[in-house]
């Protein structure tokens, strides 16, 4: 390959990179020229022209550009050495599975169970030792985990780009809100009902989109999300943009948790006195839901149905040629993905007790999609981490206030360039054969002799 030939010296790479960085700086300065040089003096109603901010912009752009190029170059170089290595034949350790990454080292198989129990213990203890603020954030984060895992079934596993996922979340939330508002139905009755409604709506949307894939599917689902929001905004029953308030939180066998149990918790466990115990209860509900979701999604992914979804994602024509009913696979993926959005919606409505259509804007769909993409398509731990990062990060970035969305965007771009597979890339389950056969020898016996009449084949 000419790229790694010796005559391409480091110095020439350096000069060409420097030139590109200078060009980028010049381009940025030109683009931002009116923004950075002109300010309005509101009292005298005049424009003030000053160049004093330009050097900072130029310097910053130049440094960032150089860094950017350095990392890209390094990445490209690593790619080339890897390709050269592979073209020289198969690496020795092909049978040993994927190379360990920092994630697999941290979550090493030996301590997986221990790590899991520690994490579970931590999540159980957390609400009793933290502030109401933390519990609120955690409930939101866990709702996003559920949503992310649900969308992961549709986008990550089945490869169907759904840009209207928030609609199913809205359907779940409104199912509970309306049934509670008009008929006084309780949370526990509405939880399965909300899931069912969302599933049915998923099926309903699934039928027209059976034939679509890729961009077309994205547009139809996007429209569905918007239509749902507009319908909720304009219906009389849903009280339009005023929304529905005073939704009852989930009840614990009808016991008022803020009375006797609260005093007990404060006295014996040292719980923050300002804590709303209902919130702790909601936290445990959503935690249980997350665990249920993880178990279900993991089981689905490694089942006959899940493999059909994966096959559909990988190659639609080959999957049909393998005897998979694509229509059924698509519908189940859509419907099941929506189920979890419905469940999360019911919990959301009971958690914040007031919902209106503005809670379910297109931005929500994008946010959940970024959770899946950022975390790692098809990877359960990845999506969980992604959900926590995405829902907690804006809180942490409050310090940067108005710049936080900008930082968020920059972070996404960097992620996609340097780690396109997500924070924790998905890995496949490894199956070990019980009776180790010597396949290579058998193949040799099979293809070495023209007519393998007495080969080792059984």
């Amino acid at each position: 390959m000419s790229v790694i030939r010796q005559d391409v010296s480091l110095a020439s790479i350096f000069w060409s990179e420097l030139k590109s960085a200078l060009l980028a700086t010049l381009w940025m300065c030109l683009l931002a020229f009116p923004l950075m040089t002109l300010t309005i003096n509101p009292t005298e109603k005049t424009f003030i022209f000053s160049l004093e901010r330009m050097p900072y912009l130029a310097g910053g752009t130049f440094v960032l550009s150089i860094l950017w190029r350095f990392f890209l170059k390094r990445r490209a170089f690593q790619g080339i050495t890897k390709a050269v290595h592979q073209s020289g034949g198969l690496p020795e350790d092909l049978t040993k599975g994927p190379k360990p990454t920092w994630v697999t080292v941290v979550m090493g198989l030996r301590h997986k169970r221990l790590g899991f129990f520690l994490l579970l213990a931590f999540t159980i203890v957390l609400p009793f030792v933290s502030s109401p603020y933390t519990v609120n954030i955690m409930v939101t984060a866990l709702i996003y985990v559920t949503l992310g895992l649900g969308l992961n079934v549709v986008v990550g596993v089945s490869g169907l780009l759904n840009l209207g996922y928030i609609a199913f979340y809205a359907i779940g939330a409104y199912t509970y809100a309306l049934l509670n508002h008009y008929f006084g139905l309780s949370f526990w009755v509405c939880l399965p009902l909300g899931a069912l409604t969302a599933t049915l709506m998923g099926l309903l949307l699934g039928f027209p989109v059976i034939r679509l894939s890729g961009d077309y599917l994205a547009i139809v689902t996007l429209s569905f999300g918007e239509i749902t929001r507009l319908v909720l905004n304009n219906l009389e029953v849903t009280r339009g943009p005023r929304g529905i308030s005073y939704i009852k939180p989930a009840s614990f066998f009808g016991i008022d948790l803020n009375a006797a149990p609260k005093e007990f918790l404060i006295k014996w466990l040292g719980v923050d006195p300002s804590m709303d115990i209902n919130k702790i209860f909601t936290y445990f509900i959503i935690l249980a839901l997350v665990i249920l979701t993880i178990v279900c999604v993991f089981r689905l992914e490694n089942s006959r149905l899940g493999r059909a979804w994966l096959a559909m994602r990988e190659d639609e024509i080959a999957c049909q040629a393998m005897g998979i009913n694509r229509t059924r696979a698509k519908l189940t993926a859509f419907a099941l993905g929506s189920t979890w959005a419905g469940l999360a919606g019911v919990v959301f409505a009971s958690h914040i007790t007031f919902i209106n259509p503005a809670s379910f804007s297109f931005l929500g769909s994008i946010l959940i999609l970024s959770i899946v993409v950022l975390g790692g398509m098809g990877s359960i731990p990845g999506v969980i981490l992604g959900a926590i990062v995405i829902s907690a990060l804006p809180e942490q970035l409050r310090f940067f206030s108005q710049y936080r969305m900008l930082l968020f965007g920059a972070l996404m771009v960097l992620m996609m360039v340097f780690r396109p597979g997500g924070l924790i890339q998905s890995t496949r389950v490894v199956h070990i054969h019980k009776t180790k056969g010597n396949g290579q020898a058998r193949l040799k016996a099979l293809t070495g002799a023209p007519k393998p009449k007495t080969g080792g084949y059984s």
């Binding site: 006959r304 149905l305 024509i317 393998m322 054969h433 056969g437």
Partner: protein, 273 residues
Amino acid sequence: MSPADQYPRPKGGHDLILNAIGMSMVFGGLVALNGVNLSIERDSVTALIGPNGSGKTTFFNCVTGIYKPTRGDVILYPAANLPSISLKGLPADVITQRGLARTFQNIRLFNNLTVLENVLIGRHCRMEAGLWGALTRNKKTRAEEAAGIEYSFDLLVTYGLDAMANELAKNLPYGDQRRLEIVRALATEPKVLLLDEPAAGLNISETAALRDLITHIREREKVSILLIEHDMSLVMNVSKKIYVFDYGRLIAEGPPEEIQRDPKVIKAYLGED
């Protein structure tokens, strides 16, 4: 002949497994296939040859349900004592379930899944577990899953791919990818295997190994094979009967010796003097 035979078997002593009658496929104004008749004898290798664009792959797509043929019928005779089935108008997945499996001209593996999973997906239509089984993982599902994995591993061992069972399919060398595609098709337990240019991109020794593989599949697995191939030495060596397409028409059929001498075939391949 079975009493319930809806489609009478052709006379003449040939035991057919698949009979395509008058297959036509029209794309807009382009006639890609024009009334082609093709039959495959049980436990034999039949080859389909012809210049590029002569409609070979279109024929495959019509037979396997990827395309809906404009006209024509495909009849499958699963076994001597079983009634025949028309595959006309059935979707691709049902046709696979009935016993036709295929490979593709450009390898179409599930790249980001492991070798074993690729084969397990081939088992899909021979397994039953649905949503409920997947979520509850009951005894029946677990047994079926274990049996499926066992079956797939056995196939991988037989075809020398077991050492890479947990490797992603895209990381396999080209020759192994071709072989894996055949193994994946075999996992559906086909009665007829349709191979679309399996030797494309293989070197001489790999092609020789492929020839033995095809013979093995026919003799041991009792699978009848329809083969599209440009490698004439392979075609002439393995096939019992050869069909030649040109411009969507069948221009010749017969055993290899006859085809090699057929002036129409020579004309289609080399042009006129």
